[in-house]
Subunit: 210 residues, 2 copies
DNA sequence: TTTAGTATCACTAGTTTTAGTTATTTCAAA
DNA sequence: TTTGAAATAACTAAAACTAGTGATACTAAA
């Protein structure tokens, strides 16, 4: 028996969801609220398995709500519901630790399915949300532009980004100071920079070095 | 009519998938191959809408395959299939640009559903994959360790990471070179480093600067 | 009201980086 | 086999950084 609490400022929608949930004998709705003003108290007393959380709510919204829940009751699963336009809210919710993101127009069967899925340890997303997440993922894990740094050049750059001086790099790589200097000059040319700071900044951002 | 090509080294499975797909009148399977050895040629000639791609294949595997497809035919949607929900492969596939990632034991109806969903611009993941992606997401967006850098110190650091010299930073911030020097000394103390390279490296990795 | 932290600035001296030019060897590709 | 890139190295001079000490002014907290 999965215990569910619903947060949604639209009462008729809440009623509808409650009825929908009661159709499945595995699920039971044990509470519903307008917003997250008292979310911690409510979690404390009701201790549901899964929370259905509207993102847009007056006073204390769903993002804050899920953050509070996850911080204090990490075992409670949270599914966010949104009308969906705003990337930022999706990512905020993900970072707050919600297990699911589904659109409000999601079909009844899928909603129920999602609750069960999340309860059993999975995560669910509607496809349009998934594509945003994956795009964001890619964007922030983009494969580097190839600056054609050689292995030695990369090695020098890594050492420098770890705070070593040319002298120390030379020592570590068993080459002379002069050679390190040569490599660095080549690196700067290839990266189109002219200081160690910018080179390292570029190297890290483009994943040339870890 | 959605045109589909299947990559899977298991012939009987490929046959099964082909038959499954043909059950839906909206879908048609226009090709199937053992591995990705000739994937670019095959894409060139068949130009499917969606590719069903097994990850584990001899010779040229699915990860390489999706990477090749996405690089040369970004409009072709790719759904990865695997028996393992191996973290590394999932992320590799996502980064290669796959639109879907589903386990092989996914039900027939869900598979077909997924194809349609992906074709219409969404992305799909099985719940167990989704939770991994989201965890990874969170992990790599963790809030920084607080080094208690002041606003000015951060500002100096940002300028330095953009390649500015102390002199230029001074000019930009309307303070003297000496003050910049003071800030830097403080930064080094707080970050426990003693070179610009290490400071920037640390700053970027800990999201002190973008 | 004393204290701690921030922001500002100065001077110095030693160290390091940057950038210029030049040159040799090696190795793989055209 | 010629060519070109990579790796190595040297020399130099200017510019920049590092690190030490010390000082003033302001603000907010104890």
């Amino acid at each position: 028996m999965i215990h569910i609490v619903i947060y949604d400022d639209n009462i008729s929608r809440r009623k509808m969801l409650t009825e929908l949930i009661s159709l499945n004998t595995e699920l039971i709705c044990i509470g519903g609220f307008d917003d997250c003003s008292n979310v911690l108290n409510e979690m404390e007393t009701l201790h549901p398995d899964v929370v259905l959380m509207d993102i847009e709510m007056p006073n204390v919204n769903g993002i804050v709500g899920v953050r509070l829940i996850k911080k204090n009751f990490p075992e409670i699963k949270v599914i966010m519901q949104t009308v969906f336009d705003d990337d930022e809210k999706i990512f905020a919710a993900i970072q707050a630790g919600a297990e699911g993101y589904i659109l409000k127009n999601t079909g009844a069967d899928k909603l129920l399915q999602s609750i069960v899925e999340v309860h059993s340890g999975g995560a669910i997303m509607t496809p349009s949300v998934a594509i945003k997440v994956m795009k964001f993922f890619n964007q922030h894990n983009q494969t580097e532009i190839n600056y054609n740094l050689t292995q030695k050049e990369k090695e020098v750059l890594i050492h420098l980004s770890n705070g070593l001086s040319y002298k120390m790099v030379a020592n570590k790589m068993d080459i002379t100071y002069n050679t390190v200097n040569s490599h660095v000059k080549k690196i700067y040319q290839k990266l189109h920079v002219n200081s160690i700071g910018e080179a390292i900044s570029m190297a890290i951002k483009n994943k040339i070095v870890e």
